[in-house]
């Protein structure tokens, strides 16, 4: 066998070495290639399609030298039988049973290669059938789509006659297929679009393919529809245009949507752009798209602004780390939809270094482009804060003025109700705050002053006076009277504000007393200045009438003048508010009394008013003059007793003043009533409305004065 194997291996043809029983002894590479099922030990007979024929052929070959042609059909794994032409010949016949036969195999038209070709053809046919059935299905689908489409689909021939009309077209235009097929399409086209239609058809005929066109069509009822038409030409096999198809879509709703969208967009833009507040919108790409008029101030240093990245813009305006913090809030809102609100951000800007305050809010919303975006709206609180600070400062100053003023201040409503008053007013009226709240200013007013102040108040409220001042008396809590100077002003408010009165009240009790005193002094001065000279004039003339000589006149007049001066001295010392009787006696009698003990004075402390002091002073002077000249003091032993005390005469208290001379020479009533006598008797009685009794007793003159108590100061 191995001897033949080498021969077989060098043969390019497929060669098998088999025994006469059909057992394969060896197969060369070519044979193994074309018959993969054949290997050493395989039984060629049992694998053949007709084992008897193969067995007979092999036996024939074993008996014959030289190649014998024959045919062998072999069963293959795929179930097909391959038919081989073979030339077999005996190569060794050591024994007739063990004879080795070489078979050289040759493919036939029913061989494997031929089968493969056949198979390819069948496959091609199968796929053509499959494609054709799919195409049929697709065509059916298409027909169904066309039939049921909501779009109107129709075709027309070159004469513009409708050749097909789907359900969509029926619905859209109101014509049934039956009605319109065979009729002209021109009824669908409004007059103003006929030229356009003509142009479209011309272009289609020229072979152009057109995209959809937005135009107008009209329905059976004559309603105009906004439509999008997709026209195309229908051609035959030779490429000749035989008609046109049109797909018509009603876009009225879409157009309306578009229009309202455009309107909405422009409203949105207008709203933002014209807002006096700060508003800006940022799109999904974090770019500033809209900025309100009111927001331009904040972004004054960002150029360009529209389309700018918000983060960039914020970093121009604000310092770090706050800028990043703000950007974070904006991004978070854009991503999550959570609204962010900062009621009071106060920060120095990076670009202007100015301190600004904002109340700002970031919200997410769908922008007109249909994408999410954010809108930030804010109030610039900076100016408001400045104003508020100024207001606070002003209020503080006002409050300080109100509370620390040295005068009482009150705000009083038009009905007299308290609105506010300061502590000084409480002190002034002697009430605590709570007590004063329970009382009106008017009820504390002295009844005699109420009419006058009510009159002024009426004029103020009637607008006849801008304000007024008056001096009034109020009762303090302890019942005492306080004189106050009141200035009243009206704060008139408009509708939104209210009107009230402003009282400024100052204590003028001491001022009033000083004024009274001054008025009194002025009166005294006027009285004296007009009369004093006349009095002195009269005194001089009276003295002259009774004087025996010029020297006598000089002495008497000088003394009288001095006596008058003493009284005036005492009045000045007492500040024109009374003179003590004891003091008056001392001073008037000082020049006359001589030795100690010649004058005895006794009486309680009594304060005379100015008139009494002056008149009594003159009388004492004249009494002393006469006493020295003719009475007790004209002799060494004589004394004068001056005593005074209170008593009651006719139920009225009077002051009794006694001048009693003792130890003097005998006196008698003078025959001539001179100046001195007039003063002692008449002047005092008349001036002081007093009772005077002058008696010339044996041991001296007595002079008694009963002085009404109204001449005294208590």
């Amino acid at each position: 066998v191995s001897k033949y194997e080498a021969v077989l291996a060098s043969d390019p043809r497929a060669c098998l070495l088999v025994s006469v029983e059909g057992i394969v002894q060896s197969a060369n590479a070519a044979a193994r290639h074309i018959l993969p099922t054949i290997e050493q030990g395989s039984n060629l007979i049992s694998q053949s399609a007709s084992p008897d024929d193969v067995s007979a052929y092999l036996r024939l070959c074993a008996r014959t030298r030289g190649p014998i042609p024959g045919k062998i059909g072999l069963n293959a794994e795929d179930g097909l039988t391959s038919l081989w032409i073979c030339h077999g010949g005996l190569v060794d016949h050591a024994s007739s049973y063990n004879a080795l036969i070489v078979l050289r195999l040759q493919d036939t038209k029913f061989g494997k290669a031929a089968f493969e070709k056949l198979n390819q053809k069948i496959n091609a046919l199968n796929s053509e059938i499959a494609w054709k059935s799919r195409a049929e299905l697709a065509s059916a689908h298409l027909a169904a789509i066309v039939a049921t489409s909501t779009d109107a689909i129709y075709s027309k021939d070159l004469n513009k006659t409708v050749t097909s009309w789907n359900l969509g077209a029926e619905r859209m235009f109101g014509y049934s297929a039956k009605e319109i097929i065979g009729k002209s399409v021109l009824c669908l086209i409004p007059a103003e679009k006929l030229d356009e239609e003509k142009m479209i058809l011309e272009r289609l005929i020229a072979g152009e393919s057109l995209k959809s066109v937005e135009t107008l069509r009209q329905t059976r009822e004559g309603c105009l529809l906004e439509v999008s038409i997709t026209p195309s030409a229908i051609r035959d096999r030779s490429g000749r245009t035989i008609g046109f198809s049109q797909i018509v879509r009603d876009i009225t709703a879409r157009k309306n949507n578009e229009r309202s969208l455009v309107a909405a967009h422009s409203t949105f833009e207008k709203l933002i752009n014209n807002s006096p507040f700060g508003i800006f919108a940022v799109d999904a790409d974090f770019r500033i798209t809209l900025v309100s008029a009111g927001a331009h101030k904040a972004f004054a240093n960002v150029h360009p602004l529209i389309g700018r990245d918000l983060a960039e813009a914020l970093r121009i305006i604000w310092p770090e780390p706050e800028a990043s913090e703000f950007i974070g809030h904006f991004r978070e809102t854009l991503e999550t939809g959570h609204t962010y609100h900062s009621p009071n951000t106060v920060l120095s800007r990076r670009d202007t270094a100015e301190l600004e305050a904002y109340d700002w809010k970031v919200e997410r919303l769908t922008l007109p482009d249909g994408r999410l975006g954010i809108v930030c709206h804010y109030y610039d609180l900076s100016e408001r804060q400045l104003l508020e600070a100024a207001l606070r400062e002003s209020e503080k100053r006002f409050r300080g003025t109100f509370e620390n003023a040295s005068v009482g201040i009150a705000h009083v409503g038009l009905q007299g109700e308290w609105l506010d008053f300061n502590d000084r007013l409480c002190e002034l009226l002697g009430y605590s705050r709570t007590e004063l709240l329970d009382r009106s200013l008017k009820c504390l007013q002295h009844p005699d002053d109420q009419a006058a102040s009510a009159e002024l108040l009426g004029q103020l409220l009637a607008g006849k006076l801008p304000h007024f001042q008056c001096e009034e008396r109020y009762f303090r809590k302890d019942g005492s009277i306080v004189w106050v100077g009141v200035s009243v002003g009206l704060q008139s408010g408009n509708e939104s504000d209210f009107s009230f009165l402003i009282y400024v009240v100052r204590d003028i009790t001491s001022l009033k007393a000083a004024q009274d005193h001054q008025t009194f002094l002025m009166g005294e001065l006027a009285h004296r200045s007009k009369n004093q000279l006349a009095v002195i004039n009269a005194m001089a003339r009276q003295t002259a009438r009774n004087a025996s000589s010029l020297d006598d006149f000089s002495v008497l007049f000088e003394r009288r003048l001095k006596g008058l001066a003493v009284s005036i001295d005492l009045l000045v010392t007492g500040k024109w508010s009374g003179v003590g009787l004891g003091e008056l006696i001392d001073r008037q009698l000082e020049p006359f009394k001589g030795d100690q003990g010649r004058l005895r004075c006794e009486g309680p402390v009594v304060l005379l008013n100015n008139t009494a002091a002056e008149a009594i002073g003159l009388a004492l002077h004249e009494l002393a003059t006469n006493c020295l000249k003719y009475g007790a003091w004209s002799v060494p032993a004589g004394i004068v007793e001056v005593t005074w005390n209170f008593e009651t005469a006719n139920d009225t208290p009077v002051l009794r003043l006694n001048w009693v001379e003792r130890g003097g020479p005998h006196v008698s009533k003078p025959t001539h009533r001179g100046f001195g006598h007039n003063v002692i008797e008449k002047l005092v009685a008349q001036k002081l409305n007093a009772k005077v009794d002058l008696a010339y007793l044996s041991d001296g003159v007595t002079w008694t004065l009963l002085l009404p108590s109204n001449q005294l100061i208590t």
């Binding site: 000279l533 003339r541 009276q542 008449k682 008349q686």
Partner: protein, 119 residues
Amino acid sequence: MLLSGQHILILEDEILIAMDLADIVRDAGAESVVSATTARAALQHIAEDSITSAILDVNLGEELSLAVALKLKEMKIPFIYHTGRTDILADAAWPEAPVVTKPALETSLTEILFAATSA
């Protein structure tokens, strides 16, 4: 004598001056002199006595002598004002009469009163 036959009323609240005036008019020949310190007393004298002329102080301390001046004018009794307060007389209410300012010279007082009585 300038004031012969005159019955003179002196209205003066300052008694020393009244005394002096009385002496002056007496020295000038006055027939009689009455003094009053209040307007009421003066009016009483005018009503009861036969006054032919008068010297009036204007300011009587607690009152003015206007009522007396008006009464004298009504009765056509000549009079003069003797006062230091000529300012008060500026008021038109006061009847016109010669004014002698305090303090006055004896002669001017008698002469002016005389002129008033002779008019």
